[in-house]
């Protein structure tokens, strides 16, 4: 009950704080990409870039207003979380299968279980520091170039390594620099962070698969893998819930992501480019918000994030708990 009140008050605070931005941008906030914290004053130019003068020979100064749009951060959240799931889910399911089916034989279930609980309890900033000082440089110097050499000739993957830019009317293709701090780096750090929770929930879900299901397939001559597949199938909704919990955590992670994602508020298709997530944006900008609509816009982003992770969590709980009964 108290929790509901708490939740409600969080929603109310965010909503009230975001109200000016909601009124100003409306739903367009969700589909625009600009993020201009301060008004900009600059000389007016015409279509070919010539500075315009008024009758007195003075430069005409135009004022570009603040503009806020959540699209790049929503994109960044979606991509970094998807990358995280891509790396974490197969590993987590494999580990969960190992813990349920093999580890007990070697008396490893308890120690590894403990290790996983421990990993789950490491504060995310620790993962962030590791990502910043170990993973990002390694990505920049080794993994990035290696992957580029490996995939460069694969048709259809060129967008990962090259971007087309238009400078002063000239369109050209240029190589994306390997900066280390990138969407990929964030995806990897997030994957490591959510691995324990997905593993431990999946383990519990797989443990609840009735013996008779596994024995039923084994009795028909299924191999270890085939019967494991049967287990995964039987537990699929619970496993989906486990993945959703991991996703909620990945999408909501702030500090670790802010440290490794590169914080570029733009949509860059390549995973080797920097990006920004909703949560990392908040972490970066909230302690010193600018004038006028900046703060309400951040509140707006927070509100979107909250609604999104709430949805993930509810769906996940419903899938994990609802099916067990």
């Amino acid at each position: 009950m108290l929790l509901l009140v708490l939740l409600a008050s969080v929603v109310v605070v965010l909503f009230k704080g975001a109200l000016p931005a909601i009124e100003h941008f409306g739903a367009k906030f969700l589909v625009t990409s600009e993020w201009r914290v301060n008004e900009v004053e600059r000389p007016l130019r015409d279509a070919v870039g010539k500075i315009q003068f008024d009758a007195d020979g003075e430069q005409i100064i135009e004022t570009i207003p603040q503009a806020f749009g959540a699209l790049p951060t929503m994109y960044g959240t979606a991509v970094s979380s998807s990358l995280a799931l891509l790396f974490a889910v197969p590993l987590a399911l494999g580990s969960a299968l190992f813990l349920v089916r093999l580890a007990p034989k070697f008396k490893l279930a308890a120690p590894i279980g403990f290790l996983i609980e421990f990993l789950a309890s490491i504060p995310s900033i620790a993962y962030g520091v590791w990502g910043l000082f170990v993973l990002a440089p390694f990505l920049q110097s080794h993994i990035g170039p290696f992957v580029r050499d490996l995939l460069l000739d694969v048709p259809g993957l060129r967008w990962m390594f090259f971007e087309t830019v238009t400078i002063a009317g000239q369109t050209s293709e240029r190589e994306i620099p390997m900066v280390g701090r990138s969407m990929l780096c964030a995806g990897l750090v997030l994957a490591i962070m959510i691995l324990p929770i997905i593993t431990s929930v999946s383990r519990d879900v797989l443990r609840a698969v009735p013996r008779t299901q596994v024995e039923g397939s084994l009795a028909l001559g299924a191999t270890w893998w085939q019967s494991s597949w049967m287990m995964l199938k039987y537990a699929r909704s619970g496993l989906f819930g486990a993945v959703m919990l991991g996703l909620a955590r990945a999408a909501g992670e702030t500090m670790a992501v802010a440290m490794v994602i590169g914080n570029a508020n733009a949509i860059n298709p390549s995973p080797f480019s920097p990006g920004q997530t909703m949560a990392s944006l908040l972490a970066n900008e909230f302690n010193d918000p600018g004038e006028k609509l900046h703060r309400p816009s951040l509140m707006y982003v927070a509100l979107i994030l909250l609604v999104m992770s709430l949805t993930f969590n509810i769906v996940a709980r419903w899938l994990v708990v609802g099916k067990k009964q």
Binding site: T212, E215, A219, G221, A222, R236
Partner: protein
């Protein structure tokens, strides 16, 4: 409690307990009723009456009463031979020196009180006990002359040759059709027509075809318990196994569903030899051709079902099937 009933002389106890030879067995119709009356009068009073059971309880080796008909099965008539088989769960021995010949094309029932090792024995035939930690075996089991245990045995292949149906129906979380052809799919069979033909044959064989032919794509979990169990039978026979193991297949079903399964067991036994565990004496009497009575991991008496139920060689068997003991 045991020691005062037991003969204290060790040398005698270690001897096999003699049983009446099968040949001198009085025929069921004549002699049995009178004998039964006489025994019933003294049943509770005469503690020494269960000589084999007492020997088993005290851990002595005993000679089970195996009727001549089964002792003399030829190799051609035998599909599976359980030979001096023993099994341990860690330090606890669950099966002691069991010899059972499973007759080809017949139904053999395993009966005995709870915990006597019926399921363990059944699950040894397809080595499902392998999954359990610390299981050790001795002796041998052969199916059609091929060893079940031993180095170099392909367990996956063994299980493919032996179908099994469990106590609780365990349909897989997929469609009826996918359930039936699971066994073929794991073999890599992809041809739709082959799978369809096989599933129809198996479902007909399990007397389920008429009920499900219009909803093969529906989830199997939506079937009734009895239908699910017949589906599990269809799934087990889809690739023509050499033998079928049924572990109390009706204990989770209502009487009508039970009846249908029992009829089905009769039908499929001719093609697929059946080894069935049951708790239900009437069921054993109805469906089986041969019955083995087990106690504390040992075989006590093994013979044609008719004789086991009407004129067993041992008083303990008689009392057990009458429900007076166990």
């Amino acid at each position: 409690m045991q020691s005062n009933i037991l003969d204290p002389t060790p040398s005698r106890m270690s001897d096999a307990i003699p049983t009446r030879p099968a040949a001198s067995q009085p025929s069921a119709d004549q002699a049995a009723p009178t004998r039964r009356v006489a025994l019933r009068d003294s049943a509770k009073a005469e503690a020494g009456r269960y000589r084999i059971i007492e020997a088993i309880r005290s851990g002595q080796r005993h000679e089970p009463a195996v009727h001549a008909e089964l002792a003399n099965l030829t190799d051609a008539e035998t599909i599976a031979k359980i030979d001096d088989f023993q099994l341990w769960y860690g330090k606890n021995q669950a099966i002691h020196h069991v010899n059972i010949n499973v007759a080809r094309g017949k139904v053999t029932a395993l009966i005995g009180p709870s915990g006597c090792g019926k399921s363990t024995l059944l699950r040894s035939v397809n080595r499902l006990n392998d999954l359990i930690d610390g299981v050790r075996v001795a002796g041998s089991i052969t199916i059609n002359g091929r060893q079940v245990f031993g180095p170099g045995v392909d367990v996956i292949n063994l299980r493919k040759r032996v179908g099994m149906v469990f106590q609780k129906p365990n349909p897989f979380p997929m469609s009826i059709f996918d359930n039936v052809v699971y066994r073929l799919r794991i073999d890599g069979e992809r041809s739709k027509s082959t799978l369809e033909a096989a599933s129809e044959k198996a479902l007909r064989g399990a007397a389920l075809w008429e009920e499900v032919k219009d909803r093969l794509k529906d989830s199997a979990v939506g079937l009734s318990g009895g239908q699910q169990q017949r589906l599990c039978i269809a799934r087990a026979i889809v690739a023509d196994p050499e033998m079928l193991l049924l572990d109390e297949p009706c204990s989770a079903l209502d009487p009508i569903a039970t009846l249908r399964i029992e009829e089905l067991i009769h039908e499929i036994a001719e093609r697929y030899t059946v080894l069935i565990v049951t708790h239900n004496m009437q069921q054993a009497a109805r469906v089986s051709d041969y019955t083995a009575f087990m106690y504390l991991g040992r075989l006590v008496e093994f013979g044609p079902t008719k004789l086991i139920f009407q004129s067993p060689q041992l008083p303990e068997t008689e009392d057990y099937v009458m429900g007076r003991f166990g």
